[in-house]
């Protein structure tokens, strides 16, 4: 692991994030960026928040008139997306819940999804990627030694949400993405651009992986089409809801028999193993730091508490960690040698392989320069 030499005095980000800088009080750029983002995107008071929320609900209802559904809510089974679905229904919206299954769903996730869609009487759409195909893609990503294996899941998840929105003629995707629990950025070297279809195809080709068949991919141009032509808006819905994770969890457990789990994104067995084992031991990265730092910045958790929760292994016990490791090896069909070899090999950057990230950045810069308003909501 990369040794840590300094930790921020306000949040718990540290020098394992390569581009971290500290001011004279020892406060880092990550939590400072959080505050800037919050000021720019979150409403400044309760009245303003409600005004925006009511505005959003009215727009979604208007756009959904005469349709079976009026919006898409992506549902992973985690707290953020579960809460989005509950609130959408309580606000009188008619969401279609969309779930992406990459073959690593945990019983917790399945249980939570079942309780929610049945309890709320919401229709569910699930896209299941053929396991041999996603396994082949994962094999190629492991062979490439790039850090962000989760690009596969995230890309497919984004694609399924946009596809379903387009198919049903819906304009709004209410997503569990939010500033409250995700506002402290993941350092740019810890993950990769999620709409990089070229990277997925390039890595698969290079390492003898499969062609994309049941994998619902999303490229930069697909995104441009969904946003520009289909006029679909991705809404970070929880930012409208005065979202507090602990309160949400309480209601979900009480009303929907929700089963919580140890850390953010642990609803998928692979994500759990990736964040709790592969990232720390192969890449020297611990995503608990930015996740918990967000909760410090919203005042939901003290810094001491966060430090405590980020200490030690990212599993409740060594036994749980080993159980996941053995399951991973078995499901992938790996040997212990192959696993040890993978962990020991140095990381390679995503840019060693074909990529459309630079193209995306160019378009994004252009979009910002032209001050286009499509694809997102703007509040005056």
């Amino acid at each position: 692991m990369i040794p840590n030499v300094q930790t921020c005095s306000r949040c718990i980000m540290d020098t394992t994030a390569p581009d971290i800088v500290f001011d004279e009080q020892g406060i880092c750029n990550y939590c400072s960026d959080f505050l800037r983002k919050k000021e720019k995107h979150l409403p400044f008071d309760e009245n303003e928040r409600l005004r925006r929320l009511n505005g959003l609900v009215a727009m979604v209802k208007e756009a959904g008139k005469g349709k079976k559904y009026d919006c898409i809510v992506g549902l992973s089974g985690g707290v953020d997306s579960s809460w989005s679905l509950v609130q959408a229904v309580r606000l009188g919206l008619r969401p279609l819940a969309v779930h992406m299954d990459s073959g690593w769903n945990s019983e917790l996730a399945q249980n939570n999804i079942a309780n929610l869609v049945r309890g709320l009487n919401v229709d569910l759409y699930t896209h299941v990627i053929d396991w041999p195909e996603i396994r082949g893609l994962m094999e190629a990503f492991f062979a490439s030694d790039v850090i962000d294996v989760e690009v596969l899941y995230d890309n497919a998840m984004l694609a399924v949400n946009y596809q379903q929105a387009a198919r049903h003629g819906l304009k709004y995707i209410l997503a569990g993405t939010n500033i409250a629990t995700e506002g402290v950025d993941i350092p740019s070297t810890w993950n990769w651009h999620k709409a990089d279809k070229r990277n997925i195809i390039g890595i698969s080709k290079r390492f003898g992986g499969p062609r994309l068949k049941s994998f619902p991919s999303l490229s930069t141009l697909d995104m441009v089409r969904y946003i520009g032509v289909n006029r679909i808006k991705w809404v970070s819905f929880l930012d409208y809801l005065d979202y507090r994770k602990s309160d949400a969890l309480e209601v979900l457990q009480r009303d929907f028999g929700y089963k919580p789990y140890a850390h953010k994104h642990y609803e998928s067995v692979f994500t759990r193993f990736y964040q709790g084992y592969l990232q720390p031991y192969k890449f020297g990265v611990d995503k608990r730091k930015p996740h918990l730092s967000s909760l410090i910045m919203t005042g939901e958790m003290t810094r001491d508490e966060a430090l405590e929760r980020a200490a030690g292994i990212a599993y409740p016990s060594e036994k749980d960690m080993e159980a996941d490791r053995l399951y991973f090896i078995k499901k992938m069909g790996w040997s212990e040698e192959k696993f040890a070899d993978y962990i020991a090999r140095p990381e390679r950057p995503h840019t060693d392989y074909p990529s459309e990230a630079a193209f995306f950045q160019k378009l994004l810069a252009l979009y910002r320069r032209m001050n286009l308003k499509v694809g997102r909501l703007v509040w005056k």
């Binding site: 299954d101 019983e107 869609v117 229709d123 569910l124 699930t126 396991w131």
Partner: protein
């Protein structure tokens, strides 16, 4: 312990790369990777699981022992396997890999003696004979085979009697017209079959609710197996693995206890 078993029935199709769910024995829809499904059912504390390879006999091959070994080792509950078993040796090999019961159909049509042969080695409780029953175009119920191997006995009632006489410990009775439809079980069929068979009868086909499970056991089934009910959710047939809570199942038969 519950008075009746409720068994998820998973269909394996290697040509489709994993588990599928069919509709009236056709239109297989991919529902996921068997290892992950078994893991989820483990954590749901299901008391028995059934895995049927629907390609093996059609492809004229035996069971995929490597895969079954993996599944059996992941599976904490008793596992019943069916599909492609041609000889007693193959059945015994499956037991050695951790499979608790084998389900036979085409093998019985070819050689009825195989039931006794396996039962002599492993006990009758380990041998399930599966009988698929389909309505003909005049509505008459007949034994049916989806594999191309002609049923040894086209009269389904006689097929049940023969299976019991040959030493089957259990009959798996599949109402083909209800398969995957979630339209409710064929209660008339179950009622009649349960009167003929004096071994446990596992009814499968059409189950869509707890009430259906109750109706099937009231009609005489000792156990109920279901596929679509445990893997699909709602009008889009969204893949979602579920299983009733223990208390919900217990409440179904609480009067009888």
């Amino acid at each position: 312990m519950l008075t009746h078993r409720v068994i998820p029935c998973l269909l394996l199709s290697e040509s489709r790369g994993g588990l599928v769910k069919t509709m009236k024995f056709g239109k297989p829809k991919y529902v996921g990777d068997p290892i992950n499904a078994v893991k989820i059912f483990n954590e749901k504390e299901v008391d028995e699981l059934m895995i049927l390879d629907i390609d093996a006999t059609r492809e004229n091959r035996g069971p995929d022992f490597d895969l079954i070994e993996q599944l059996a080792s992941e599976c904490f509950m008793p596992l019943c396997y069916g599909g492609g078993i041609r000889t007693a040796e193959e059945a015994l090999k499956l037991f050695s890999l951790g499979v608790e019961k084998v389900s036979l159909q085409s093998a019985v049509a070819r050689n009825p003696g195989i039931v006794r042969e396996i039962a002599d080695h492993a006990g009758e409780q380990a041998v399930v004979v599966s009988i698929d029953v389909k309505r003909g175009w005049l509505g008459k119920l007949q034994a049916f085979s989806a594999t191309g191997v002609k049923p040894g006995q086209s009269d389904w009632r006689q097929a049940v009697r023969d299976a019991v006489a040959n030493g089957a410990g259990e009959i798996l009775l599949n109402a083909v017209d209800r398969d995957g439809t979630l339209a409710g079980p064929d209660l008339e069929l179950i009622r009649e079959a349960s009167q003929i068979a004096d071994v446990p009868l596992v009814a499968v086909g059409g189950i869509s609710s707890l009430a259906d499970i109750k109706a099937a056991t009231d009609a005489g089934a000792s156990a109920v197996a279901a596929g679509a009910y445990f893997v699909f959710q709602g009008p889009h047939r969204a893949v979602l693995i579920t299983y009733p809570q223990y208390d919900q199942l217990r409440a179904l038969w609480s009067d009888a206890e």
